[in-house]
């Protein structure tokens, strides 16, 4: 078995007396997709912020397998180190694509920015790389110099994914990447995410309340309820043979199509 990529140990977060998440521990390995499900308010988003370096947890540790020094607590890294990690090894795909894109620069520049941020200074190279990635996410090249303002919701989300994956991060955090999209657009995006993740061997943490999305995208599942992890395991096992009362309720509440 390869090395752990990210390891969360006894992670807890409190907002004053309010609970974010309690005692969450899990490991993520390279190339795997971990799903986090639970109803709104269950602590999914807090957990995602905690492990992606956006919000320091009240207690517990988050360690990441850094390229040079191996497993290191991300909150003990210096800020420049942590920001470098975010620019190079990590990607974040927001639920609302507008939060993750620069709406006032062209699609090509949105993709190229991360390359420039890690030191690319050759226009042709940046342009070519951006071209490749727009093709990967099925955005027509005639739209390359257009502003994201003119894009549909599905295109925005695909652009956001290209922008994140262009530097070939090792871990991508996705917060409800398909919600808010048409079902038909969702399917295409799911296929795209799955294909890219498996081709590039990128590990992914996906937060979603959509169990259907989870079944198709994730290898393993964590079920959160009132801030705690109540069940975890293989995605199909958790969904087909849920053990915890809450998971059973969740699974049995899916509306049939």
């Amino acid at each position: 078995m390869t090395n752990v990529l990210l390891s969360s140990k006894n992670l807890s977060h409190h907002y004053g007396s309010q609970v974010g998440c309690i005692d969450v521990s899990f490991d993520i390995y390279p190339g795997e997709v971990l799903g986090v499900v639970g109803e709104s308010g269950s602590g999914k988003t807090t957990l995602l912020k905690n492990i992606s370096g956006l919000l320091q947890p009240s207690s517990g540790s988050v360690k990441f397998d850094t390229r040079v020094d191996g497993l290191k607590d991300i909150y003990l890294l210096s800020e420049p180190e942590r920001r470098l990690l975010m620019r190079t090894d990590w990607g974040v795909v927001f639920q609302n694509a507008r939060d993750g894109l620069r709406m006032n620069v062209s699609a090509g520049a949105n993709v190229g920015e991360r390359l420039m941020a890690i030191g690319a200074r050759n226009y042709r190279d940046i342009r070519n790389e951006a071209t490749d990635w727009l093709q990967n996410v099925e955005i027509g090249l005639e739209r390359m110099d257009h502003y994201p303002e003119t894009f549909s919701g599905g295109m925005l989300q695909r652009l956001q994914i290209a922008r994140n994956l262009v530097t070939k991060p090792r871990l991508v955090f996705m917060d409800e990447p398909t919600s808010g999209l048409d079902v038909s657009v969702q399917a295409r995006l799911l296929d795209l995410i799955r294909g890219l993740v498996s081709q590039l061997g990128i590990a992914c943490v996906i937060v979603s309340h959509d169990l259907g999305v989870m079944r198709l995208l994730s290898n393993r599942l964590i079920v959160m309820h009132k801030g705690r992890v109540v069940e975890k395991g293989l995605t199909d096992q958790v969904l087909d043979d849920p053990q915890h009362p809450y998971t059973q309720l969740l699974v049995s509440s899916i509306l049939p199509v």
């Binding site: 420049p80 006032n104 062209s106 190229g112 920015e113 420039m116 941020a117 200074r121 226009y123 110099d145």
Partner: protein, 310 residues
């Protein structure tokens, strides 16, 4: 002895030349000290924007209050001041600021670049190479080069501190993607001393190379934004660019219509309502100098003598 007599000479000169009831160079001494401390810090950290307590001045923000405050804080009775606006000594803003210091500080003023010890400027750097005993003071409207892409001050400060300047190239990328070349023609961002990316104030990019390793001290004052920054003498100043789209300055196929200069920054002047135009030096002092030395541009009517025009 000499010092004491010099002192006496100065105070008498002050009395006879400056306005009654005003401090020397308008600002009070505490303010000037505060600004000088900010300027010293700015010199110590080339390109870093030092916050300072910008004062109300007797003219609106945006008319050069930052530059005026810096000049007021560093000027002494023995200084000779030159003020230019768009390269010219005779535009309203330049004339008024020059008069302001003549009245409040009683200093000598000049239009001749080489004679000035302090040059306050908006939009240009003089064509004549500045020397190590000169100081150039820039008026700056927007000091933060990252502002257009990152609205949060907290974030831009971090980006400066950590030299995270990748986004600066996004603007250049956009230029090339849309127009095939970098079209930013003024306020073209530079990196100072291999660290801070800095706005050079709205000078044409033609002037950017003059900032590099300049023997004179360069001070920048932004009155409304309350920032002072500096480039110490002989400091590296590099204009941002791509490897395959290197930084370039403007060039003209014409020469100056008045002085025939082909190495200076030219302004296009429309001469009638039929669209006739000519190109003339933007640096009025430089142009006059050349004409005085006998250079004659193609736009000068043959029969006129140079003095007829002036």
């Amino acid at each position: 002895m000499a010092a004491i007599s010099g002192e006496r000479k100065r105070s008498s000169r002050l009395k006879e030349k400056t306005l009654d009831g005003y401090n020397f160079a308008y600002l009070d001494d505490q303010t000037k000290r505060m600004i000088r401390r900010a300027a010293l810090k700015a010199v110590a950290i080339p390109g870093y924007q030092v916050p300072f307590g910008s004062r109300e001045m007797p003219l609106p923000f945006g008319w050069g209050t930052g530059g005026i405050q810096v000049t007021a804080s560093i000027i002494g009775i023995d200084d000779t001041l030159k003020v230019i606006d768009q390269g010219a000594d005779d535009t309203t803003n330049a004339v008024n600021i020059r008069r302001f210091f003549a009245k409040t500080a009683g200093v000598e003023t000049t239009e001749n670049t080489s004679d000035a010890s302090i040059i306050q400027t908006r939009h240009r750097i003089p064509e004549v190479k500045l020397k190590s005993d000169q100081i150039i003071v820039y008026q700056v409207p927007i000091p933060e080069p990252l502002r257009w892409i990152e609205p949060r001050e907290e974030e831009t400060r971090k980006m400066h501190a950590l030299t995270e300047y990748g986004v600066m190239h996004v603007e250049l990328y956009e230029n090339i993607a849309h127009y095939g070349k970098v079209t930013t023609s003024y306020n073209y961002p530079v990196q100072v001393n291999d660290h801070y990316v800095m706005s050079p104030s709205p000078i044409p990019k033609f002037d950017n190379p003059k900032m590099d390793k300049m023997p004179a001290l360069q001070l920048f004052g932004a009155g409304r934004e309350k920032r002072i920054y500096a480039v110490p003498p002989y400091t590296k100043v590099k204009s941002l660019d791509f490897d395959d789209h290197p930084f370039e300055i403007e060039s003209w196929s014409e020469c100056c219509a008045l002085c025939e200069s082909s190495s200076s920054f030219l302004d296009e002047v429309i001469t009638d309502d039929k669209g006739s135009r000519m190109f003339v030096c933007s640096d009025s002092n430089f142009c006059a100098d050349r004409r005085a030395k006998g250079h004659k541009g193609p736009g000068l009517p043959r029969k006129f003598e140079i003095k007829d025009i002036e």
